[in-house]
Amino acid sequence: MSLPESSAVATPTLDVRNLCTSFYTRAGVLPAVRDVSLRVQPGRVLGLVGESGSGKSVTGFSILGLVDAPGRISGGQVLFKGRDLTGLSPAQLRDLQGNRIAMIFQDPMMTLNPVLRVDTQMIEAVRAHRPLSKRDAREHAARTLALMGIPSPEERLRAYPHQLSGGMRQRVAIAIALLHSPDLIIADEPTTALDVTIQAQILSEVQKLVREHGTSLIWITHDLSVVAGLADDVAVMYAGRIVEQGSVDDVLDRPQHPYTQGLIDSLPSRNRRGQRLRQIPGMAPDLLSMPAGCAFAARCSRASHLCAEDPPLRDVGPGQTVRCFHPGAADAQ
């Protein structure tokens, strides 16, 4: 599968192979990410979808080397432009973090220091990776804020984070992520806590930037509707594994995995108004005591004796893979 270095066009920005991340807690080993493989090409947007506890955020953290003890990457490779990140020293990683790869968090206050003004933080972030004078760094910061559609950027630079609204804070956090025009941005639910109007504004800015700069973007979310409007490809996670992956049109219009189908069917907009919603029975399994075989089997209407074993990833169409023994379109209703 590995491609020669010369064919730079075909080298994906990010190629995650069989990534495993576990947390070694007192209560036992918690396999948060199990055997996850992903590829993101330049200028493409991958939506990483899953419910809470599915391992989507830990996958994002693992790519950037941000998993803290007791967590550890226990297997697999993270190839960023062909270079494996899992073996890098902390200093080598720091060179990439915030520079070539950036992360946006759900809560902008995780990015922003509450006791420093915005300009102090942005200048520091610019100068961490580029030898610029403070004045040039400040100018660059103001330009990046303007790029994110922030009105009167000079004024915002002098503000403290608490003086900004939630939507404005998230834009500043995104602007900081964009300072060095990274090749890859990992966005972990950045619009979940915002109003629809603010969410739409931020989505439109992000979309424009990705198109113009050829940045690769991983958008982690639980909201299928956001993925439908924003992403090119989508990967659906359940209990630490990717259960279905493919282009947005294939996966959302012709879902093959019963979990993906269940998720789509439970959206209110996919149901007749006022009728009972189709729901997935039960709840996600406890990662500390995972059942053997398919993790979804206990909630699945198609489960059979086969599902007591781990289902392999299989191709169901060009570029669409599913981890299920009984893939297929939803039963006729």
Partner: protein, 336 residues
């Protein structure tokens, strides 16, 4: 017809302000002139709102954060006193009731909160959380307590074996069910659901919404459903009220509102929802953010963000008018 019935809840020109205006006397004025004291800011969280909820109706209340929808919901539930205006339950004004009567009226309206973990006492077992209110109000006695609690839990879709557990032993969806069981235990007629499914995963959200719909049929409940998720509101509600910065800007039946939104704010809000069946959307955002309620713009609160704003909008507050039967909207454009 409905309009002749006495509404279950009726709010008349209800306002809620936070922060007391500084007393206006000579010493205070002198201090202010010497800049030793400043006038305290007053927030108009809810500004002269009329709201009628009829028995059996599901009313959706939508708007951005900070628009006053939660404050209004809390006033309906009697958790916050109104600053001005009147609130009536079953045609009786709350002011005219004795303390004892008010106690009984309050029971009719119960609230279900957004965050199921912070609205449950972590140190109480589930049976006390669910049954304490009913015991206090004499809806059950010590002898029948266990059976009563079990029945409430079962109705909310929980096993009665959970009675002796603590809230932290449950998942988010189950905790929300405990909150529902607690509300149902005092046999209310109206449930005020404040973002009750916002914190839940999609598959769990569907389970809780189904529970709400089943309970509506089973117990003929009335709902005030506060949400920023228009998809959920469209699915569940009969009528929708849209708020912006403390005022109601539009109110209509669900069909009318989603098909023929009249107010520019409602139109913008509807255009912003990410839709599952629309791919590679180009988001055309409405400009700006919701202004601070401490210092709202004059005239129509929406005019700084409105694409159709005229000179009149900056000066005169538009009133709610009927634009078609049972469809109210507050916009100057309708009078041209």
């Amino acid at each position: 017809m409905r309009s002749e019935q006495i509404p279950l809840i009726e709010l008349n020109q209800v306002s809620k302000t936070f922060g007391k205006p500084t007393p206006d006397h000579s010493v205070q004025r002198l201090l202010q002139r010497l800049q030793l004291s400043r006038a305290k800011p007053v927030t108009h969280a809810v500004d002269r709102v009329d709201l009628r909820i009829h028995r059996g109706e599901v009313v959706g209340l939508v708007g951005e954060s900070g628009c006053g929808k939660s404050t209004l919901g809390r006033m309906v539930a009697g958790l916050l006193p109104v600053s001005s205006g009147t609130a009536s339950v079953d045609g009786k004004s709350l002011d005219s009731l004795t303390a004892e009567e008010r106690h009984a009226v309050r029971l009719k309206v119960q609230m279900i909160f957004q965050d199921p973990s912070s609205s449950l006492n972590p140190r109480l077992r589930v049976d006390r959380i669910v049954g304490e209110g009913a015991l206090l109000h004499g809806l059950t006695d010590k002898a029948g307590f266990d059976d009563y609690v079990s029945a409430q839990l079962q109705r909310a879709g929980l096993s009665q074996q959970f009675r002796q557990r603590y809230p932290h032993q449950f998942s988010g969806g189950q905790r929300q069910r405990i909150g529902i069981a607690r509300a149902l235990a005092v046999q209310p007629e109206l449930l005020v659901c404040d973002e009750s499914v916002a914190a839940l995963d999609v598959s769990i959200q569907a389970q809780i919404l189904n529970l709400f719909m089943d309970l509506r049929d089973e117990l003929s409940l009335t709902y005030l459903f506060i949400s920023h998720d228009l998809g959920v509101v469209e699915h569940l509600c009969d009528r929708v009220v849209v708020m912006y910065l403390g005022r109601v800007v539009e109110s209509a039946s669900v069909d009318d509102l989603f098909a023929r939104a009249n107010h520019p704010y409602t139109q913008a809000l509807l255009a912003q929802i990410p839709r599952f069946d629309v791919r590679s959307t180009r988001y055309d955002a409405i400009k700006g953010e919701i202004p601070s309620p401490l210092n709202p713009p004059a005239g129509c609160h929406f005019h700084p963000r409105c694409p159709h704003a005229m000179a009149r909008c900056r000066e005169e507050v538009p009133v709610l008018r009927e634009v078609s039967p049972n469809h109210l909207s507050a916009c100057h454009l309708n009078e041209q």
